[in-house]
């Protein structure tokens, strides 16, 4: 059983539940006391206190220990309805009951504390592991373009007279490519930190899905030139009221990802349609798809495919997921049966049909 869900009980609730359970068990035992004898009742009450100790804080547990001891003494030990205990044996039992109940309470709570500490330690270790992954991929992703820029600039600076025009041109192209890569990675990091700090508040406004998709494609022209992108947007789609900028970045990410990772002669298709009050955008490709055992993990922060050769910080998809979720939507990845990956975005949205057949 999951104890943390019980610990979410407020202190008052914990007291009430503790007292009630001791009372209910006592009443039950009271009716059965002729059958089972008062010493067995002590054991039953002890079990009750132990169960309470499993889930609740120390104070309600102590209270139930004391309460149950008193109840046992008052209602069950011979010479019922007095607190007096006549036989030495019963007195001993009463004291033992009391001590066992208390020790039990304290012990279970100690164990719980240790468990909590252990899980905190584990969490810390996970964070450390995450950071080292981050440093590894980041230092690689940032240092590579930086080295390229420094090296190429250095060459141009110091050996300008020895370099052929063609070499110079190549070096300058390398600088330009590397700086764009750097810009992209820094942009990713900034987006990630915006997400982490809860800074992303969608600013919803009316937009045209066609315009969005072509805006993204237009911007990606140089990256996707070799791989054709088909657009299949349903006719007469209404306008949606969502954050254009966030959607833009998500689509940019997905299409850029697909274009850089699929083999030559593969095709990317972007579809959009309206499903009840939801905008659905699908980005699919005819590439290799994702390894089945990694599909669940690709949206994790800093996760990179084991086979990944193209680099990347492993941030793009987790940012995309964060952006879509900030608008109340979902994003999922599947492999198509005939090969290729298919990303499906679904976001609930206000709709406006004003664009269909308006004349002024």
């Amino acid at each position: 059983m999951n104890s943390s869900s019980f610990q979410k009980f407020s202190p008052t609730k914990q007291y009430i539940v503790s007292i009630l359970s001791v009372l209910i068990v006592s009443v039950g035992c009271y009716f059965l006391s002729d059958l089972i004898g008062y010493r067995v009742v002590a054991l039953i009450l002890l079990v009750t206190v132990s169960l309470i100790a499993l889930f609740f804080d120390i104070k309600p547990v102590l209270l139930s220990a004391i309460l149950s001891a008193v109840l046992w003494d008052f209602f069950f030990i011979p010479q019922k309805f007095t607190l007096a205990i006549s036989s030495a044996e019963d007195l001993l039992m009463f004291m033992m009951y009391f001590i066992i109940a208390l020790v039990h309470a304290v012990l279970t709570i100690k164990i719980r504390k240790m468990e909590k500490k252990a899980s905190q330690k584990e969490e810390k270790e996970n964070t450390l592991k995450l950071y080292s992954t981050l440093f590894n991929s980041l230092s690689h992703e940032l240092k590579t373009p930086i080295s390229t820029i420094i090296g190429a600039a250095d060459n141009l600076h110091t050996m300008s007279d020895k370099l052929s025009e063609h070499n110079k041109y190549e070096l300058v192209s390398e600088i330009s490519k590397a700086s764009l890569q750097l810009d992209r990675q820094v942009g990713n990091l900034l987006n990630m930190s915006r997400l982490e700090s809860g800074f992303i508040k969608p600013k919803n406004d009316w937009f045209d899905v066609n315009e969005l998709i072509y805006d993204v494609l237009n911007n990606l022209k140089d990256n996707v030139s070799e791989k054709p992108v088909h657009v299949a947007v349903k006719e007469n789609l209404p306008l949606f009221k969502l954050d254009y900028g966030l959607l833009y970045q998500v689509l940019h990410n997905l299409i850029h990802n697909a274009a850089t990772n699929i083999p030559k002669y593969s095709v990317i298709t972007v579809r959009a349609f309206c499903n009840y009050n939801r905008l659905v955008i699908v980005v699919e490709d005819t590439g290799y798809g994702f390894p089945e055992d990694e599909i669940e993990r690709v949206f994790e922060k800093f996760y990179r495919l084991k086979s990944s050769k193209t680099g990347g910080t492993g941030l793009g998809l987790s940012i995309s997921k964060g952006f879509i979720e900030s608008m109340g939507g979902t994003i999922k990845l599947e492999n198509m049966p005939e090969g290729g990956a298919i990303f499906t975005i679904e976001i609930p949205s206000e709709l406006s049909y004003i664009n269909i057949g308006i004349k002024t």
């Binding site: 700086s179 810009d183 942009g187 900034l190 406004d205 009316w206 937009f207 045209d208 066609n210 315009e211 072509y214 805006d215 237009n218 657009v231 306008l239 254009y244 900028g245 833009y248 406006s352 004003i354 664009n355 308006i358 004349k359 002024t360």
Partner: protein, 230 residues
């Protein structure tokens, strides 16, 4: 012809150097200022033809500088800003900036923006030669021709197009367009704008989805861009 002089107000020496080289290579004279104070002073003393203003200055925010400039300076101001979100850009455009560029920007883009900002407002009959189709607009007779054929525009569509043409090369914010065409009561009715942009594109563009005249400026607004046929 006298060279146009451009005042660069930016606190980063590297950026100033880059701008200086870029602008001088393109036949502009350059005046530099590293702080808001220095910038305002040099603007007053030199009355440059155009000002490039960085929003992140050390002594005063670029927005404040823009406000002070706009009390008397009537020539174009182009905002330079780091990737910080559209609010900044929209705010600057609403406060009288003519255009904006987000750092890092392509220098070719910078020169194009400067040239179109320096060009005065267009009048009379203007014809554009796009890669896909020609466009001719007669602002006096309110006539629009695509590939020499008259096209029918509704009054609102025409007003929208004329506004774009008069501000050729400049980004017009959603708010500005809604206010100018529909009036101040329509600032929240951006769905009208989307609809009319789509309709206008269908009429004047060859491929409405890949427009060459009315370009989308993500989250900020639209920009009408065209090569003028003289």
């Amino acid at each position: 012809m006298k060279k146009s002089d451009i005042l660069v107000i930016d606190d980063e020496p590297q950026i100033r150097k880059l701008l200086e080289i870029t602008l001088k290579t393109n036949d502009f004279d350059v005046i530099e200022a590293a702080t808001a104070k220095e910038g305002l002073l040099k603007a007053k003393n030199n009355f440059p033809d155009l000002i490039l203003l960085d929003l992140g200055l050390p002594d005063e925010s670029g927005h404040e500088v823009l406000k002070k400039l706009r009390e008397w300076y009537t020539k174009p101001v182009i905002i330079l800003s780091v990737q910080s979100g559209e609010e900044d850009i929209i705010k600057a455009l609403e406060n009288g900036a003519n255009d904006y560029l987000v750092k890092p920007f392509r220098t070719g883009e910078l020169i194009a923006r400067i040239r179109s900002s320096l060009r005065g407002s267009l009048k009379g009959i203007i014809s554009y030669e796009g890669a896909k189709n020609e466009l001719e607009i007669d602002l006096n007779l309110r006539i629009v021709k695509k590939n020499n054929e008259l096209i029918k525009l509704t009054a609102t569509e025409y007003d929208l197009l004329a506004l774009f043409v008069k501000n050729e090369g400049r980004v017009l914010t959603h708010q500005y367009l809604l206010r100018e065409i529909w009036g101040p009561g329509y600032l929240n009715q951006s769905q009208y704008l989307r609809v009319f942009i789509a309709q206008l594109r269908k009429k004047i563009e060859t491929e409405p989805n890949q427009p060459e005249y009315i370009l989308t400026e993500s989250r900020v607004g639209y920009r009408f861009i065209a090569k003028i046929n003289l």
